[in-house]
C-alpha cells in the first residue's frame, strides 16, 4: 500500500500550500458567475465546497449540496483547456523600422503586359521594413488541482495534437512544461456525462495511452463527504514527484479496504451515467454517413452559435487577427480560438467551402468521433457532455451519433430521403 495514502479533508489546505511553496501556480475549480470554472486556487476556501451541479441538454445549474464535498460536481462549465491554451494569445509583436514615406508609395511600378519584369528596384531609401519579436512566456509551472478524468484525457489529447507532431504550438508546449497533476476521481456525474462509454473516466487511467507516461502525480478520491468525522481523501501516488509531495503533507498509510472504497466511488459514478456513445463503432458509422439525411435534420436545430466548440476541451481550431495601431507603426499578431461552425472558417476567395450549417455540423461531429482517429490515433471526444449542456438548442452528440449509427445499420438511403424529425431518442441503456 506504499502508493496509496489517506489525506484528511482538512489536509487539502496543506496540499495546496505545499504545491504553492514549490513554486506552482495552482489551478482548479472555482465559483464564478453561478458556474464552476477553472481559476487560481490559493487556499481550500477557493474550492466550491458544498456545491453540486445539474446538467441537462441546454441547461446548467448549480445547487447547494447537503454535505461538505469539495469535488461533488461534474464537468465544470469550462475545462482546464484555457490553462495551457488560452482563448487569445499574442504570437508576435512587430514594429516598423522606419515610417512609410510618400516617396516609397510614389515609386510604384509601371509594369507592362509583355510578360517581362520591367519594374526598377525601389529608388526610395526608406524601405518600410519591420521587426518581429516573439513574446517569451515567463510564468510559473502549473499544478492542476481537482482535474477530472475527462478533462485530464483532453489534456493528453492536446499533448498529441499541439505538442506531439511535426510542428508544435510553442505556447502550449511552454505552458504545459513541468505541470503537476492532482487528479480527482469523479463521484457525481451529471445527466450529460458519458465518459464511461468513451473509456475516458470516471476514474483516470494511470498512464496516457498514447505515450505511456503517468497521467497524474496524485489522484484524489473523496470519501464520506456527508460525515465530518470520516470525510477524507484516498490519495493515490502516480509519480516520484507525487510521492515527494504526499510524504511532505499530512497523510497516513492506507489499508486494502481504503482502495476498495475509492474504486467503489467511481464504479458507482459510472453506473449513474445514462448517455453513451458506442466508441468501438462510431468512427466507421460517421465515416459512412457523409451523405446522410440526418444532417438536414440536425441543421434545422443547430444555431451555429459555436458554444459547443468553445466549451469542448479538445477543440483546438484557431484563427489569427492582426491588430495594428492607427499609424501602422506597430502591429501584433494574435492567435484566437475559432470554430468550424462559423461561416468564415473555410472562407477562400469566392466563398466558404462549408457554406451550409449541415456541412458545418457534419464537420464538427465527424472530426470529433471519426476523422480525429485517422489523424491522431484516438477519438477527439472525452464524454464530458459540455456540448450537450451548453447547446442552446439542446443538441445531443450522443443522440446524433446513435441516430447516424441506427440509420447506417438500417440501411437508410442517405441522399434525398426525408427522415421524420420525431426521431430524437435519447439512448438510456
Amino acid at each position: 500500500m506504499d502508493d496509496i495514502r489517506l489525506l484528511p479533508a482538512t489536509g487539502l489546505e496543506g496540499l495546496i500550500a505545499q504545491l504553492r511553496s514549490r513554486g506552482y501556480r495552482v489551478m482548479g475549480p472555482t465559483l464564478r458567475d453561478d458556474a464552476i470554472v477553472t481559476g487560481e486556487i490559493r487556499s481550500a476556501s477557493d474550492l466550491p465546497q458544498g456545491v453540486g451541479d445539474e446538467q441537462d441538454p441546454a441547461r446548467y445549474r448549480l445547487r447547494k449540496r447537503d454535505d461538505g464535498a469539495y469535488f461533488g460536481f461534474a464537468a465544470p462549465a469550462q475545462s482546464s483547456k484555457p490553462v495551457f491554451f488560452p482563448a487569445e494569445e499574442v504570437i508576435w509583436r512587430g514594429r516598423r523600422d522606419t515610417a512609410v514615406t510618400p516617396d516609397s508609395a510614389a515609386s510604384a511600378s509601371t509594369p507592362d503586359n509583355a510578360g517581362n519584369p520591367t519594374t526598377a528596384p525601389a529608388s526610395s531609401p526608406h524601405d518600410p521594413g519591420f521587426t518581429v519579436e516573439r513574446d517569451q512566456l515567463d510564468a510559473p509551472p502549473i499544478a492542476l488541482l481537482g482535474v477530472r478524468s475527462c478533462d485530464l484525457r483532453a489534456v493528453q489529447i492536446h499533448d498529441k495534437v499541439l505538442a506531439g507532431r511535426t510542428y508544435i504550438d510553442a505556447h502550449y508546449v511552454t505552458r504545459r512544461e513541468a505541470t503537476f497533476v492532482v487528479a480527482v476521481a469523479c463521484s457525481d456525474p451529471a445527466a450529460t456525462c458519458f465518459c464511461a462509454s468513451m473509456g475516458t473516466g470516471p476514474r483516470p487511467a494511470a498512464t496516457d495511452p498514447a505515450t505511456g507516461e503517468p497521467s497524474y502525480d496524485l489522484l484524489l478520491t473523496e470519501i464520506a463527504p456527508s460525515d465530518p468525522d470520516r470525510h477524507h481523501f484516498v490519495l493515490e501516488i502516480g509519480t516520484e514527484a507525487g510521492r515527494d509531495v504526499a510524504h511532505a503533507i499530512d497523510t497516513a498509510p492506507a489499508e486494502f479496504d481504503d482502495q476498495h472504497e475509492a474504486l467503489a466511488v467511481t464504479a458507482h459514478a459510472a453506473s449513474q451515467q445514462t448517455r453513451r456513445i458506442t466508441a468501438a463503432t462510431v468512427r466507421d458509422d460517421l465515416r459512412a454517413s457523409a451523405e446522410s439525411s440526418r444532417w438536414e435534420d440536425v441543421a434545422s436545430r443547430c444555431l451555429s452559435c459555436t458554444n459547443c466548440t468553445l466549451v469542448c476541451p479538445t477543440c483546438f481550431c484557431t484563427t489569427v487577427e492582426d491588430v495594428s495601431d492607427l499609424t501602422g507603426a506597430t502591429a501584433e499578431r494574435h492567435r484566437v480560438w475559432d470554430s468550424c461552425f462559423s461561416e468564415d472558417f473555410t472562407y477562400i476567395h469566392g466563398g466558404p467551402t462549408r457554406e451550409s450549417v449541415k456541412a458545418r455540423y457534419r464537420q464538427w461531429i465527424t472530426h470529433k468521433l471519426s476523422s480525429w482517429e485517422d489523424q491522431f490515433g484516438m477519438l477527439g471526444c472525452v464524454g464530458c457532455g459540455r456540448c450537450i449542456a451548453w447547446c442552446p438548442a439542446g443538441i445531443d452528440i450522443t443522440e446524433e451519433a446513435a441516430a447516424l449509427g441506427r440509420m447506417r445499420a438500417g440501411g437508410v438511403l442517405p441522399t434525398g430521403d426525408h427522415v421524420p424529425t420525431g426521431d430524437h431518442v435519447t439512448v438510456t441503456s
Partner: protein, 291 residues
C-alpha cells in the same frame, strides 16, 4: 522554489528547426503585372540569411505587415530559388496589399510548407499538365523540374485554359516551352471576343483528344476545384491511374503547419498532408459536397 517553465525560444529550439510562426523578412525586388488582376512578385531575403529552397508544389505564407497573411504557392524554379517568386491574383485585402506594394517594401514569408508534385516520379513516362487560369503558377515549378531533365520523360503536354484571351498567364513562356522544349502546349479559352482565332471551350475537353499514352502517363492538375475534379475524372476515364493523377488543393489556411484546423478535409490537413495529393486519395472526398 523550483524554477519557472522555459521560454518559447526553448520550446522552439528543442524542435531543431526555425520557429515556423515567425515570418522572415523579404523585400519585394520586382513586381511584374501578368494579366489584368495577376501579378508576380520577386522577393529577396533582407535578413542576411540564405535563399529559401523549396520543392515544386510547396507554398509559403505571405504576410503584409498590419494587414494579414495568405498561403501562396511558389511559382519559381526549384533549381534557382532566388529570387523567391510568387504569382498572385488580386482577390482580397492581403493580396491587394501585396500586389500594390512598391518595390523595396518588406513583407513577411513563412515556409516553405506542404507536399511536392514530385514530378520526378514520372521519369520514363508521359506527363500531362492540366491547368486553368492562375493554376499554372503552382504547376510552373513542376514543369521546370521536368524540362530540366526533358530527355528523361516521354511526351510532355500542357493543357491550359483561361477565362478569356486576356487572362492567359505566362503566355510568352508557354510559347517558349512549345518552341524550344518539346512541350505540346494546347490552349483554350472559356469565352472569346468576336474574331478570336484560338480554341474556345473548357480545358477538360482537351483531355479526351490529347496525344499521350494513358497507361504510362502521370498527370498534374491545378485549377479551380470543379475544373480539377472534371479533369481528374476525364483522365481516369481515359485510363490514367488515379494514383498517378495529382491535384493541388486550395483551402483556408491560417498557420500552414497543421495546427489551426482551417484546411481540414475529413482526415486531411491540406497544409501538411497536401496541398499536392493524388486523386486516389481525393476522389471520395471531392465526391461529397461541402466536405
Amino acid at each position: 522554489m523550483m524554477a519557472g517553465v522555459g521560454t518559447i525560444a526553448d520550446a522552439v529550439a528543442r524542435t531543431g528547426r526555425a520557429d515556423p510562426m515567425i515570418p522572415r523578412r523579404f523585400a519585394i525586388t520586382r513586381v511584374r503585372q501578368d494579366t489584368r488582376d495577376t501579378f508576380t512578385l520577386l522577393l529577396d531575403p533582407v535578413d542576411g540569411g540564405e535563399e529559401m529552397t523549396f520543392r515544386a508544389g510547396q507554398f509559403t505564407m505571405l504576410h503584409a505587415f498590419g494587414v494579414g497573411e495568405v498561403p501562396i504557392s511558389i511559382a519559381g524554379d526549384p533549381r534557382h530559388p532566388a529570387p523567391l517568386e510568387h504569382t498572385i491574383r488580386n482577390v482580397g485585402a492581403v493580396t491587394r496589399a501585396l500586389v500594390n506594394a512598391a518595390p523595396g517594401t518588406e513583407i513577411g514569408v513563412r515556409g516553405p510548407f506542404g507536399t511536392s508534385w514530385d514530378a520526378a516520379d514520372a521519369r520514363g513516362h508521359d506527363v500531362v499538365f492540366v491547368t486553368g487560369g492562375i493554376g499554372l503558377a503552382p504547376l510552373r515549378p513542376a514543369i521546370l523540374d521536368v524540362l530540366a531533365e526533358r530527355d528523361s520523360y516521354g511526351k510532355v503536354l500542357l493543357l491550359y485554359g483561361s477565362r478569356t484571351p486576356d487572362d492567359i498567364l505566362y503566355g510568352a513562356q508557354m510559347r517558349r516551352w512549345a518552341d524550344l522544349d518539346g512541350v505540346n502546349v494546347q490552349m483554350t479559352v472559356d469565352n472569346a471576343p468576336h474574331g478570336y482565332k484560338g480554341r474556345v471551350g473548357f480545358v477538360t475537353e482537351l483531355i479526351g483528344r490529347a496525344g499521350f499514352d494513358p497507361r504510362r502517363a502521370f498527370a498534374f492538375v491545378c485549377g479551380p476545384e470543379g475544373m480539377m475534379r472534371a479533369a481528374a475524372s476525364a483522365l481516369v476515364s481515359r485510363g490514367v491511374s488515379p494514383a498517378r493523377v495529382r491535384l493541388s488543393m486550395e483551402r483556408s489556411m491560417k498557420c500552414g503547419i497543421g495546427l489551426c484546423g482551417h484546411c481540414q478535409l475529413r482526415e486531411l490537413f491540406v497544409c501538411v498532408d497536401g496541398p499536392v495529393l493524388d486523386y486516389a486519395r481525393l476522389e471520395p472526398l471531392m465526391d461529397v459536397r461541402e466536405l
